[in-house]
Amino acid sequence: MTTSASPATTVQRESAVLPGQGGITGALSDKFWRNPKLLLILMLTPPALWLGIIYLGSLFALLAQSFFSIDEFSGMVQYELTLKTYGELFRPANLDIIIRTVSMAVIVTLAAACVAFPIGYFAARYARGKWKALFYIGVMLPLWSSYLVKVYAWKLILAKEGILTWIFTKLHLTWLLEAWLTIPIIGGYSLSVSYTGTFLVFLYVWLPFMVLPVQAALERVPGSFIEASGDLGATPGQTFRHVIFPLALPGIVAGSIFTFSLTLGDYIIPQIVGSSRLFIGQAVYAQQGTAGNIPLAAAFTVVPIVIMGFYLWGAKRMGAFDAL
């Protein structure tokens, strides 16, 4: 029995192992099959090298420079390690810039969440079929269309002779606009040079980044939860507070990562629409360009990095990354 079985198995073994494939591609292909790690390394090396060297390399080079300082008299960069440049961030003028930027980022984020929620909720719960596609494209188009064109459109809207003034005049509400512009901090000579204008443009440009994750989070709230809440006697307001809002929160936090980070780093919007007082991005641009103070510019870039670091850490704990 055993003697007759053994030749049979060897035959089977021989037929189970295919001969190596011919040609260079065949040989390579066999190698990859036997050694999947090799293929993995080959696939990962180009992107890892590109991002590692070009991106991380320049990022670290920049961060390293924030530990140098600039000689106040000669204007030359002194290449010795110091924390002096970071100390400069706490000068009242620079601290003002940081506080101004962070407050703007917070307000823009809150407003974006308020405007985005109804859009996301409607799209997730009521829009079906064709309407759903329409809503999706309706959010995707503004998201991807040109940033500068969007800013430019608002320059047209907010101009003193532009459409917004025209609408207020037609509605006989010019007094309201003028009263708003006399409010100390948020007002100004006209909308296009006030913080209100800056805020509107920020809100407009980053809004789609909030809608998409909010909608994604709301899609995952089962309709039965809302019905159950109503059946158990909750008013719509209570259902919103205790059921919908907590479940949508990760989506809102995910969206806020974008609105917050993008507002922190932007330097073009406040330059084109807004008062002449600087935001972090403008300060970085001015320091590295006209002032030639690369160390201070580098130290300024660390501010959004640190803020975003904490923000992302908090967001991760709230489960925001699953909603992306």
Partner: protein, 271 residues
């Protein structure tokens, strides 16, 4: 009882959603009106009259053509680089689990998660340290870096839906890795790649923040527009250019949407 689809939205919600959508679209629509206005000194509304004159004026502007050419070249090359790197990365991350996998995905996302100004100034200071003169290649270097993530996201999503058994079946039937890639993997991920590539193209074509740091003296179309925004000199030409930019970016976005729309019905996903 399932009441999905039967319920009607409260009118307040409809109104808020509608107003929100209008808020997102009307400003862009306004650009199209301004491109044809006869007023050339201010942003007067309503426009005193309409004319096609500015289309012709813009057509005959060499600086606009130069900027457009540079933008198209940059976007094309950056997109190609991003497509190769993004696909490789997505294939590696989605097929296997390995040490540092999370780090790789973080590394890919970082260039758009951090504000663009940081990427820009980091690249600029690196170029000055390494004594690299500004050229179209310094622009491409920056653009490709943040375009990788778009291709990567699209490709990863598709790889996740493409069943691994298709690859195994192909190999079992005697195809080698290259044949499997050519005849099984590529047709499956092709539309996702194309969509990712189109979005990357739109992203690069439109990018301005990083570009201001890596361009030196040359101007891409967004840089040309930025200069006009800061110091308006020829408003009517800017209006026309803005309209053209909207059209050039909208088409790839719509195409990308139609390519990924039916992604759920990809063969082998019914696992």
């Amino acid at each position: 009882m399932r009441s999905d689809g039967k319920q009607r939205a409260p009118w307040g919600l409809k109104l808020a959603a509608g107003l929100g959508l209008a808020f997102m679209h009307l400003p862009i629509a306004l650009i199209f009106v301004y491109a044809f206005t006869t007023e050339d000194k201010s942003y007067q509304w309503p426009p005193p009259g309409f004319t096609l004159k500015w289309l012709e004026v813009t057509w005959n502007r060499p600086d606009v053509w130069e900027a457009l050419k540079l933008s198209l070249q940059t976007a094309t090359v950056s997109t190609l680089i991003a497509m190769v790197l993004g696909t490789l990365c997505a294939a590696a991350v989605s097929r296997t689990k390995f040490f540092g996998r999370e780090t790789i995905s973080l590394l890919v996302i970082l260039p758009i998660a951090l504000p663009g100004i940081i990427t820009g100034i980091a690249l600029r200071s690196a170029f000055s340290i390494a004594d690299i003169p500004f050229s179209i290649w310094t622009i491409i270097l920056g653009h490709a870096t943040f375009c990788v993530v778009v291709v990567y996201n699209n490709a990863v999503a598709r790889f996740r839906r493409t069943s691994g058994s298709l690859v195994e079946a192909s190999m079992d039937l005697g195809a080698n890795s290259f044949q499997t890639f050519r005849h099984v993997i590529l047709p499956n991920i092709g539309t996702a790649l194309l969509a990712g590539g189109m979005l990357a193209f739109a992203l690069s074509f439109d990018e301005v923040i990083v570009t201001t740091f890596t361009a030196g003296q040359q101007s891409t179309l967004p840089i040309w527009m930025l200069e006009e925004l800061v110091r308006p000199r020829q408003r009517p030409v800017t209006n026309v250019v803005a309209m053209v930019v909207v059209l050039v970016t909208v088409l790839p976005i719509l195409a990308a949407y139609y390519l990924t729309r039916d992604g759920d019905q990809v063969a082998g996903s019914g696992k």
